[in-house]
């Protein structure tokens, strides 16, 4: 008893419920229809796949801004390799994923070797990768947008709408949630990530291979961003150079709404998922209400604050709550 109420994620859950209720009232039946669910689930899926590794990094005390250019870079890679050069789609997928991992590896290596804050390092790679993508696309494909037609298998696995509404990425997201959840809660690596974010010197002293772990986390975030990029290219049959900069902020927002500490050391996968869904609902729900879209940003801002306030209040209440009333001091 009480163990559910005691979980700190209860805060994120209540934040989610509040915004969901808000849009159910103002968005009406359309918002509650299958199409309405698909509307924010599709957005949540793409964002969520990026938010998971970004959240892990944040728990470990790092940030990754480079996702904002890895996503378009990976889109362009698969489109150029398999669209422009007509190579088999598997080659394109592999190339895109390798690119993402390579960027992550460089981020991790530079962070670990130079001790420059990851914010700055990944900012530099954000610019560098965006520049490379543009420059190479113009040289190789002579264009900043390239069309891509995936084969039926690739489409079915990565770029399909199930029931005409739900992106397959939703299922990939669920898979990613399970894997990352397992990693964080049930493997030693989870322990290491928390420890590193809590106190990286003590973590190193405790024998944790902090350098290897940091690099792996950046590689993971590069990989996931690349996955989102290539699945977008397959889904929308084309790729553009223009940077998906909104992903940078949005992934951080989702993770922070999910209760992960910006300063590291604390967070949960359930929280990240709830945060992602909250953000997606706030973002997309607005279009189901009759409000003038000019006010969209205002409503997003206010709801974000409300969600986070709910979240904080209830998390604190949950942490305060103790299963049996402990009388007798010193306890």
């Amino acid at each position: 008893m009480g163990s559910l109420v005691r979980r700190p994620e209860i805060g994120s859950l209540i934040g989610l419920i509040v915004v969901f209720a808000f849009f159910s009232v103002f968005g009406g039946m359309n918002f509650l229809s299958a199409g309405g669910f698909a509307s924010w689930l599709n957005v949540a899926a793409g964002l969520g796949i990026v938010a998971l590794p970004v959240g892990l990094l944040m728990i470990a005390g790092h940030l990754d801004l480079s996702v904002g250019s890895v996503i378009p870079a990976s889109s362009m890679t698969i489109a150029i390799v398999s669209g422009y050069y007509q190579a088999p789609i598997l080659v394109g997928i592999a190339a895109a994923l390798c690119l993402g991992m390579a960027v992550g590896f460089i981020n991790g290596l530079v962070v670990v070797r130079t001790k420059v804050p990851s914010f700055v390092v990944t900012l530099a790679t954000l610019f560098a990768v965006a520049g490379l993508t543009l420059g190479l696309s113009v040289i190789l494909a002579g264009n900043t947008s390239v069309a891509l037609k995936g084969g039926p298998v690739a489409k079915a696995l990565l770029g399909q709408f199930v029931g005409g509404k739900f992106q397959v990425t939703i299922f990939w997201w669920i898979g990613a949630v399970l894997i990352v959840g397992l990693l964080l809660n049930f493997s030693r690596y989870g322990n290491w990530i928390f420890a590193m974010g809590g106190d990286s010197v003590s973590a190193r002293n405790a024998g944790i291979p902090t350098e290897r772990l940091t690099i792996s986390l950046f590689v993971g975030s590069g990989l996931c961003s690349a996955f989102v990029g290539l699945s977008q290219a397959l889904l929308y049959n084309s790729a553009q150079v223009a940077a998906g900069q909104s992903f940078i902020f949005n992934s951080i927002i989702a993770v922070v709404i999910g209760g992960v500490l910006l300063t590291g050391g604390y967070g949960s996968v359930v929280g990240i998922v709830l945060g992602t869904m909250t953000f997606a609902i706030v973002n997309q729900g607005i279009f189901y209400t009759g409000f003038d879209a000019n006010w969209a940003s205002l409503i997003i801002g206010v709801l974000l604050l409300v969600a986070v306030l709910m979240n904080n209040t209830f998390r604190n209440m949950a942490l305060m709550y103790s299963p049996r009333s402990k009388k007798g001091a010193g306890k």
Binding site: L182, N185, F186, S187, R188, G190, N191, W192, F194, A195, G198, D199, V201, S202, A203, R204, N205, A206, G207, I208, P209, L261, G265, Y266, G330, K331
Partner: protein, 274 residues
């Protein structure tokens, strides 16, 4: 005499232009407690950071079981059975007691095809080992470390090191934040470890604690080894003066006693105020 478990010869350490350790030679024997004493800033923590692989010595030789070693990082030292409680930190405020206890050496169990972290076992062991140190109020390994009192946290770090200290246990001022009962438990644990044949390096500013557990004493003054003697070879007064950096404490103590006299009567004036 048996060969030492760990032997340091001519260890030097400097941070940039600042020389912190000078030509330190030291033997640590299995089944013995080496008390490392010295004033604030004498270099004790720096020396044990070298033993535990946190720093590399600028020069000098370190031998473990008669074989030269050089640790690339703390994980290599702990693989060799060296466990350390550093002076600060070592616990993670936002982690549970069980997780914090096993950080870097998590117990796992099979779960279908997966090897997963064994939370129940980790919590159980952590709570049991804390109890060994006299911390009986903690019964839930899922509690966050951040909610513990200073002494409770210190006890957790010590319990962890005792659990993992296979060959050599290094404790940097372990009793500093502890109450009398908990400190006594730590001393007991140290002596138990010694009995099991583990080598212990024990740093303290408390002469009584040092005299209670130490078999062998090494005193650092300004980064150099000023004295190295066995139990019984020096008086408590001599040791106190060495711990104070070689200065005569008598004058300061006399001054303190002169202040004390202004108080209205007091029992058995303590000889040494430390």
């Amino acid at each position: 005499m048996k060969t030492p478990l760990l032997k340091l010869t001519g260890i030097n350490k400097s941070f940039g232009p600042i020389d912190v350790l000078h030509d330190i030679s030291l033997d640590v024997h299995a089944g013995e407690v080496l008390c490392l004493l010295g004033d604030n800033g004498a270099g004790k923590s720096t020396l044990i950071k070298i033993l535990s692989g946190v720093h590399k010595p600028s020069s000098g030789l370190m031998e473990l079981d008669n074989k030269p070693v050089s640790f690339e990082g703390p994980s290599e030292a702990s693989e060799q059975g060296i466990a350390t409680v550093h002076q600060f930190g070592g616990t993670f405020p936002l982690m549970s007691i069980g997780r914090s206890f096993f950080v870097g050496a998590e117990p796992t169990r099979r779960w279908g095809p997966f090897t997963i972290y064994d939370r129940a076992r980790a919590n159980g062991i952590a709570v049991k080992e804390m109890r060994e140190l006299g911390i009986t109020r903690i019964d839930d390994g899922d509690r966050l470390v951040g909610g513990l009192s200073g002494g409770e946290r210190q006890a957790l770090a010590i319990a962890r090191a005792v659990h993992f200290g296979a060959k050599l246990l290094i404790l940097d001022e372990p009793t500093a934040a502890l109450g009398v009962k908990e400190a006594a438990h730590v001393l007991r644990i140290v002596l138990q470890a010694r009995q099991k044949g583990i080598a212990v390096v024990f740093i303290t500013h408390n002469v009584i604690h040092a005299l209670t557990v130490g078999d062998h004493f090494a005193v650092l003054i300004r980064g150099a080894k000023a004295a190295d003697f066995r139990k019984g070879e020096k008086s408590r007064e001599e040791i106190t003066d060495l711990m104070a950096g070689g200065e005569q404490m008598a004058e300061l103590e006399a001054e303190i006693e002169s202040y004390m006299v202004t108080g209205e009567g007091h029992p058995e004036p303590a000889k040494h105020a430390h």
